[in-house]
Amino acid sequence: MEKLSRIGGRILQAIPPVFGVIVITFLLTRALPGDPAVFFAGLMADDGTIAQVRAELGLDQPLPVQFVYYLGDLLQGDLGNSLTTGQPVLNELAARLPASLELTFAGLFFAMAVAIPLGVLAATRPGSWIDHLCRVLVTAGVSLPTFFTGLFLIYVFYYLLGWAPSPLGRLDFLYLSPPPVTGFYTIDALLAGDWEVFWAALRQMVLPAVTLGLFALAPIARMTRAAMLSALSGDYVRTARANGLGGARVLWIYAFRNAALPVLTTLGMVFSFLLGANVLVEKVFSWPGIGSYAIGALVASDYAAVQGFVLCMALLFVVVNLVIDVVLTLIDPRVGLES
């Protein structure tokens, strides 16, 4: 019960950031270069038409009134229509979001699977060769521009070795996409029991996911190492040892569980990096997610689409942070009580 109320408190705390995000996206919309009315009215419009368009768009109203209109549109799920396709931006984003999410989660999963054991190993043997290796690896990893890593991996594994499929999209054109349930091709293929498509989708995803993951290695491994070091030198670990508890139990139940808390907090930051890097990786691998959609919109000066994309990413990130906070509240009895 008490936990529930604390989780409720966490959710309420997510409201100010959401509001801030909406205000900033709104201001960005209004900061469009030039007069949006001229832009939307088209090249051939005369002054009368432009004024009419301006009134239609509500641009003749004061800024706070415009903001209320904007909020109203948002509540109805209206992000405007894409200039290039004429489709509602919301629908286009919704159709492409699963592709981006699948890739980002795969990258995060890869990064965690490598970085957390590496960080723990480095922390249990500070000053050893594995500690130094960890340090060099993660520093190198965070220094790699994701788009460059992606290209390099394509060159080696597709052009030179021929192990990877051609870096074009989520699925080779030989296969039909699985019946959509979650929108994640790998999961949908498994649900449909289609192993062949599953493998094809997985093969397609390995290189971009690794590219993303390499970038996220560093912060996770660093934080794991630091948190483990501080937990292992903590007084409570000494107490556990003094009472005869064994190495494995002290390492995992006493030290690692405590160290997991700051690592989890870091994951929020890592996710922010990943969502940004995702845009670049999608371009390199022609991945049909919202990132490559945004780049296309940027090239075509399709502002409604760009705004929708920024808002969508920000809301996604707020949700991720919220989930992390709720998980933290569930495992750390102290969260929300410190004064």
Binding site: G20, V21, T139, Y155, Y159, G276, M313
Partner: protein, 280 residues
């Protein structure tokens, strides 16, 4: 003297930091003397020379317009480092001022500054930078502003946290007893003690700022061709990777990587010097 001895000690303890500083010297030289060192005109196109693999005449090969890749990589240093330094300087000045104020004053000041940095942090930062450049206009200045904005929260947070833990330290109380005004305490007691962790942040941020700016130009924001810039050069070379012309993208990409690597190594080294116990 003690500082120099400590510097030398840290250097011998951690050779990677030495590599970091050496790389930085190289990059700085490229940025300052770029056009003088470059063997060719970075913008001169020669169609007959297009897509030449690395050779003695063109150690890094030539691109699709026959321009010398080596010259372009060298000359680009000025633009890339310039963007990063201006952006980081901007966010350092504004961020540390806001952060110090918030940490010292607490109360409403703290809440407003905190909200501001929370709101910026609520965006995936690269995406926010994309949005800012896309709407404010596709220019180099706007890339600098956007990069500064997304770095701002880091400085606010570091400055705020460092000031807040020291705000009630004994020596700050003692300075009050000695008749110092709040502003003087902030300037003479708190800020100098906050500076070392800020230097670490600056060094790490520089690498990140370079990555961001290059990432933006990679997707066509900010710097425009034919200007020589590492991110654009990688983008231009991208389509040739699948046909095996690797040198177009590899060399600017490697330069980019080395620059970021160098700042990260320096940041780590500085962190060790500032606080050996906090090495991560």
């Amino acid at each position: 003297m003690a500082a120099i001895a400590r510097l030398r000690y840290t250097m011998s303890e951690n050779p990677l930091t030495v590599i970091g500083f050496a790389l930085f010297a190289l990059l700085a030289a490229m940025a300052v003397f770029g056009p003088l060192i470059a063997p060719y005109d970075p913008l001169a196109t020669r169609a007959v020379n297009a897509l030449q693999p690395p050779s003695w005449a063109h150690p890094f090969g030539t691109d699709h317009l026959g321009r010398d890749v080596l010259s372009r990589v060298i000359v680009a240093a000025r633009l890339d480092l310039g963007i990063a330094f201006s952006a980081v300087a901007l966010s350092f000045v504004i961020g540390s001022a806001l952060g110090c104020l918030a940490g010292f004053r607490g109360g409403w000041t703290d809440r407003i500054v905190g909200r501001l940095s929370d709101t910026i942090m609520a965006f995936p930062l690269f995406v926010l930078a994309m949005g800012v450049v896309a709407t404010m206009g596709n220019t180099v200045e706007n890339v600098i502003y956007a990069t500064a904005v997304i770095n701002l929260p880091f400085y606010i947070r570091v400055a705020r946290a460092e000031v807040a833990v020291r705000r009630n330290a004994g020596y700050v109380q003692a300075a009050r007893l000695s008749g110092s005004s709040d502003l003087r305490i902030l300037a003479t007691q708190l800020f100098p003690n906050v500076l070392p962790p800020m230097m670490v942040q600056i060094s790490l941020n520089l690498g990140w700022a370079i990555l961001n700016a290059a990432g933006l130009s990679f997707i066509g924001l900010g710097v425009r061709p034919p200007a020589a810039e590492w991110g654009i050069m990688v983008a231009e070379g991208a389509s040739y990777i699948v046909s095996g012309e690797w040198w177009l993208a590899l060399f600017p990409g490697a330069a980019l990587m080395l620059a970021v690597f160098c700042f990260n190594l320096m940041g780590d080294g500085l962190r060790d010097m500032v606080d050996p116990t906090r090495r991560t």
